[in-house]
Symmetry: C2
């Protein structure tokens, strides 16, 4: 993309200008760019490279309208840094002009005394609404929504509705989907601007609105909300309370972040990291990282101790054929990797909806065939290597080869089935990924390997 | 969501009715649902549970308009199954009414002779356009776009533009963003329906259109396209060719799938599975799975062989203190898991843009502190366990404890740095995840452990 390249150039230029105290020239560049997202990105870098003082200077010099928009696109920590550096009057003036959902996001991060001061100045009714929004727990639909939507009456004509939309356009998050409520604030229908525009002028809203709409509940999990967007491809989804009253709408641009967060959470759990996803890697403290990583390491350590006990049990045999030890990493590692491949594919399949618990038998049958094919190739390869390159003799080569086949098959079957079982008993399948599978496979690998060795080598 | 629950009930009901040959009743339920996405989902299940014959019967009985829409939401394999079961005339009639991008998607999957037959019947000009679209390689912007957009002239007034949009609304993928081209088909500006609606009637398009728009190139990778959507929150993005001519637009609903596919690709690579993401798990053949999984297993196997060689090297020492073997899984496993946690967090941070290569020093410093903290806890824990529970004596406990600290630190440092190095040399960081890190850590673990044992135990 051309713009991307010039953006980086602009960025370097602005930073250089700010370091040289040429704020007005830097400001002119930002005004020329005139895209709040890009300007916010550059401002972020000014904070990092030139310092917060310079960034605030630059921020203050921006035209009012642009500065508010830029503010809404800055990461939370930069928003707070700016708020700490400007006057209370400036803060209030920015917050007043933010879209309602951005306003709530900022408020949530501000220290309590500042929030109180800001709330003191807002009219009572609005204060009540703000408090309701502030009270939704993290991760539910309520925290994603905005109350700034276009609300129509069902007895309006299409042309009246369009006139009304024109008037309200500035204060709404979207005007492309409008909402029709009855007197009890209950949502009775939705109507797209497209439908209003193509309708005859005198057509009544009630006749063209869609009554079979999809709505989400204000307490519904954000992951379910993102599923609705993915499934139906909507631009906005209405949010209702338990009584079916319309309390807000969620627009598609707020969903990207949710999808990314949910994927991050899954990926982290699959690597044995617990719920660190709320903070970015660099922003999280050492202590936060410590807490999110230690539990699984300890849990898995216990399983390795069992593997150790199994090895102890075979100490006599091992002392006779010590060379067996050198093949342990090969068998345990390949087992772990095989299992982790299967587990990952199944976990992802469950997450994207391709695999359901009722498909368990199909998955099992597929993994059995895959693992036996792969197992035979790896076994054959190792048999020849141990026999011809390592010169360990036929029986040891046979022990390794048969162990390999058993271990790969076991690993893939367990790897594919555990996530499905977890799903069935309502545990997050992502927890059944690599670390878990590898530690189970380890135990099986050691037992199988040593038992086969005892048998085949007649020890 | 209430609708979700009733949807499952509807589904069971429809399947039962179809098995009992009560097609008309089943059809009435689908017509009542009247949501193409939901009806497509039910039809999918009818194919699976009742059979393709029943599904086609039901599909044919749907009102024409609904059936075309439903068809566009079916998965490819079900679309093909239906096409194989209906007449050529019915096929043509469905395809004609599909949105252009859906039409291309279906065409791409049809056998060549059927495509030829369909193209024979289309006008020459359209045939040319179809062929251009069919020729874009997988995964570029060109395959996501549609040529059905609203195109305005810059000398139109706002009210003329609105009139024009009303007329064209039915044939456009979106009417909420419109595009202004010059005579050479070059894109000169974009304008939102919102801006047109709030503008004065006699205002000229040229004065209200946005000239600093973001466009993507037709050959740009779909991952970059999805980045543009995520960053700017747009509902649609214009696609231009190398000469800056507007060739199509991409709408936000087509991006969800891309984001999901890219996340799947990352997750699979992190588990050592290569590029199977184009097919769903259950649809991919055993052979496809075999090909996507074997390469990494073989590659990693070679690294385990090196670990084996290292163990061989220490055979003499091991034969003297065989009990050391039983702690190998503990040290190697914990090392692998520690490294994989760090690698995963850094890989994900790179993917979401939180971590850049220039942050390498910050990451290193953070991981050093985290790994030493975690290492000390795990070391202490194991020292006491080996000493007090296993009764192995002070020196062996010390060997295990010191090894643990070294291994955890090494693993986390390598785990966090390798993805950043990969990024720097333009290899996909996702390839540096667990299997890769674990195999490197394994070698280091064995060497460290045995070398420390030789030293501390004086062997």
């Amino acid at each position: 993309m051309e713009t991307e390249k010039t953006l980086l150039e602009y960025q370097d230029e602005v930073i250089k200008l700010m370091i040289d105290n040429k704020c007005i020239l830097a400001r002119d560049i930002l005004v020329e760019i005139n895209n709040a997202v890009d300007v916010a990105e550059i401002l972020e870098d000014v904070i990092q490279e030139a310092g917060i003082k310079e960034a605030v200077l630059l921020f203050r010099s921006l035209p009012k309208e642009l500065s508010v928009e830029v503010f809404s696109f800055l990461p939370v920590e930069d928003q707070l840094a700016i708020i700490n550096a400007i006057t209370e009057k400036e803060i209030t003036s920015i917050l007043e002009q933010l879209a309602f959902d951005d306003f709530i996001d900022v408020l949530e991060e501000l220290p309590a005394n500042l929030v109180d001061k800001i709330l003191e100045k807002t009219p009572k009714e609005k204060r009540h609404e703000i408090n309701t929004f502030l009270n939704y727990p993290d991760g539910v639909a309520g925290t994603l929504m905005t109350p700034e939507y276009i609300s129509l009456r069902k007895d309006m004509t299409a042309s009246e509705a369009l006139e009304y939309i024109k008037k309200e356009a500035y204060d709404s998050e979207t005007i492309y989907t409008c909402y029709v409520k009855d007197k009890g604030r209950k949502l009775v229908g939705i109507i797209s601007l497209r439908a209003l525009l193509v309708a005859k002028d005198e057509e009544v809203v009630e006749n063209i609105m869609q009554e079979d709409y999809i709505a989400v509940n204000v307490h519904q999990d954000q992951e379910e909300v993102s599923e609705v967007f993915k499934k139906y491809g909507y631009l906005a989804v209405p949010v209702v309370d338990n009584e079916g009253r319309l309390v807000g709408i969620i627009t598609v641009d707020d969903i990207f972040e949710v999808i990314e967060m949910e994927a991050t959470e899954d990926i982290e759990r699959m690597a044995g990291v617990l719920d660190s996803s709320k903070l970015e890697y660099l922003d999280a403290s050492v202590w936060t990282h410590f807490k999110s990583r230690l539990p699984w390491l300890i849990f898995l350590m216990v399983s390795y101790m069992f593997t150790g006990l199994i090895i102890n049990h075979f100490e006599d045999m091992l002392s006779k054929v010590l060379v067996l030890v050198s093949y342990m990493p090969l068998l345990m590692g390949t087992g772990g990797n095989s299992g982790s491949q299967a587990a990952t594919l199944v976990i992802r399949g469950i997450a994207t909806g391709d695999i359901e618990t009722r498909d368990a038998m199909k998955v099992l049958w597929k993994e059995l065939r895959i693992s036996i094919t792969i197992g035979i190739v790896l076994s054959g390869f190792n048999f020849l290597k141990v026999l011809l390159i390592d010169h360990r003799g036929f029986l040891i080569a046979l022990t390794i080869a048969v162990s390999m086949l058993c271990i790969v098959t076991f690993a893939k079957v367990v790897g594919s089935m555990l996530p499905l079982i977890a799903k069935k008993v309502k545990i997050d399948p992502a927890l059944m990924a690599n670390p878990m599978i590898a530690s189970i496979t380890d135990m099986f690998s050691v037992v199988t390997y040593f038992a086969l060795a005892t048998l085949i080598l007649g020890l």
